[in-house]
């Protein structure tokens, strides 16, 4: 891609070499067993990846948006779960850096930057998905504490996390709280049998009279969704867009290798024009999605208010693109495409998840269409 700085190119190349050598070979087993071993977390932590979006003054890397995007692409290229491992906690660290009190930032961010403390973003509930403002979990002020009661579901890497950014209704308004793993009354239950991103160690949380210090409130009462969650979700959507590009890139690379080697009717299947059609669609759509991601990153780095909408647009396009590309990659591989000896079955399952998380395809369609109809100028 044109326009990258030398630093961005170098970091991308080094990250790819590291991931291909050290992590990618472990992915089939991690997917099968639905687990990310501590040794893998440690390897990623040693590269400073958990500090990607944390300000330098708190020990982070404070990377620009394009570099953050490139890292998501490279992680997504080997596994969507590895992307989750780094950039779902980043939704929390970014939200704390953006809206946390100074004391919270000093308390948490340095240890989150090193990976010593891993945070999880805990918004979704059994009954509350897209309509996230209406969380049913309740928080009540009691002296110098808040008491939390409720249930959370689909918390990415919730099995591994040390602290949760929990969204609860406080005085009837969405509000964000940091809940430590060892809080009495908090039960963390692993969720198994997931279709895609199976190594992401999802968890269900049950909060039963969890008493947390009042200072663990992030932002202010009533701004849990519009400020704290929104900051995390905007970053999350931007990152998933890039991660989807990486996932599709992996599908393309596997397909290119296969069409050169696999022979049918006496020639490599890449000679067959209907296979070529699928390859051409993959190449064009991946590049188009990458450019949308790049543009969203430029808006983000410029501090432009249109960045949020462009992150939605990039996420919408890239996730749909990834499911189509993964579908074609399986088709090109034929029977081999549905067997774990080849990686594309895993990519196909992972790709399906990207259209659901951080705003479904349908939620994005509504947001994009409304915006285009009401304020076309913001999509210039």
């Amino acid at each position: 891609m044109l326009g990258l700085t030398e630093q961005q190119k170098t970091l991308r190349a080094e990250t790819r070499t590291f991931l291909d050598a050290e992590i990618a070979p472990l992915m089939p087993a991690m997917d099968q067993e639905e687990v990310t071993p501590p040794a893998v977390v440690k390897k990623l932590a040693e590269r400073g990846l958990f500090g990607a979006v944390i300000p330098k003054e708190f020990g982070g890397q404070e990377l620009d948006a394009i570099t953050v995007g490139l890292l998501n692409e490279e992680l997504g290229r080997i596994s969507f779960s590895m992307r989750d491992l780094i950039f779902v906690p980043s939704m929390v660290t970014y939200a704390i850096a953006r809206w946390g009190a100074r004391e919270q930032q000093e308390q948490w961010l340095p240890r989150m930057a090193t990976g010593e403390v891993i945070p999880a973003f805990s918004l979704t509930e059994p009954n509350v998905g897209s309509d996230a403002k209406r969380v049913e979990t309740q928080a009540t002020l009691a002296g110098d504490s808040y008491i939390l009661n409720g249930r959370k579901k689909w918390t990415t890497y919730g099995q591994l996390a040390d602290v949760y950014l929990v969204f609860a209704a406080c005085e009837g308004k969405p509000t964000a709280f940091l809940v430590e793993r060892n809080t009495p009354g908090l039960t963390v239950r692993p969720m198994k049998g997931i279709l895609g991103a199976r190594a992401s160690m999802l968890a269900e949380l049950e909060l039963k009279d969890c008493r947390i210090p009042a200072k663990n409130l992030v932002g202010t009462v009533g701004f849990g969704f519009q400020a704290v969650a929104s900051a995390g979700l905007e970053l999350g959507r931007y990152c998933i867009a890039w991660g989807s590009v990486g996932l599709a890139q992996a599908c393309l690379e596997a397909s290119l290798k296969y069409v050169r080697e696999r022979k049918q009717f006496g020639v490599p299947i890449g000679e067959h024009q209907l296979v070529q059609q699928m390859i051409a669609e993959m190449v064009a759509n991946i590049k188009a999605a990458r450019l949308l991601c790049y543009e969203a990153g430029q808006y983000r780095d410029a501090g432009d208010p249109r960045a949020a909408m462009h992150a939605n647009l990039a996420k919408y396009y890239a996730s749909r693109m990834a499911t189509r590309v993964a579908n074609d990659a399986v088709q090109i591989h034929g029977a081999n495409g549905v067997h774990p000896d080849y990686p594309v079955a895993r990519y196909f399952r992972d790709a399906r998840v990207t259209e659901i998380i951080e705003g479904t395809t349908q939620v994005q369609q509504v947001l994009i269409a409304r915006r285009a109809i009401q304020q076309g100028d913001l999509l210039d």
């Binding site: 809206w99 946390g100 009190a101 403002k133 992030v218 932002g219 202010t220 009533g222 701004f223 969704f225 519009q226 400020a227 929104s230 900051a231 905007e234 410029a302 501090g303 432009d304 208010p305 249109r306 960045a307 949020a308 909408m309 947001l367 009401q374 304020q375 100028d377 913001l378």
Partner: protein
């Protein structure tokens, strides 16, 4: 300052004319994306930093309140 904020908000309000002291949340035009975009706009346009202690509805309820918040911040900076 107020005119610039009004111009930005105007993109969300269609043809609706917002009064300086009118509650924007009562107009029905304020959606969930507006808050973050408004904060980003105010920060980049006026070179200020809106922090967690500023997250109060009163600060964003009317054009006058927003202009006052910005004026306070610019004053602090100088």
């Amino acid at each position: 300052m107020k005119a610039k904020i009004a111009e930005f908000l105007g993109r969300y309000l269609g043809n609706y004319e917002l009064g300086d002291d009118e509650d924007i949340f009562a107009t029905g035009y304020a959606n969930s994306m507006l808050a973050m975009e408004l904060v980003t706009f105010m920060e980049s346009e006026f070179g200020i930093r809106i922090a967690n202690e500023d997250l109060r509805l009163e600060n964003f309820r009317t054009l006058n309140a927003m202009a006052e918040l910005v004026a306070d911040k610019v004053g602090v900076k100088q």
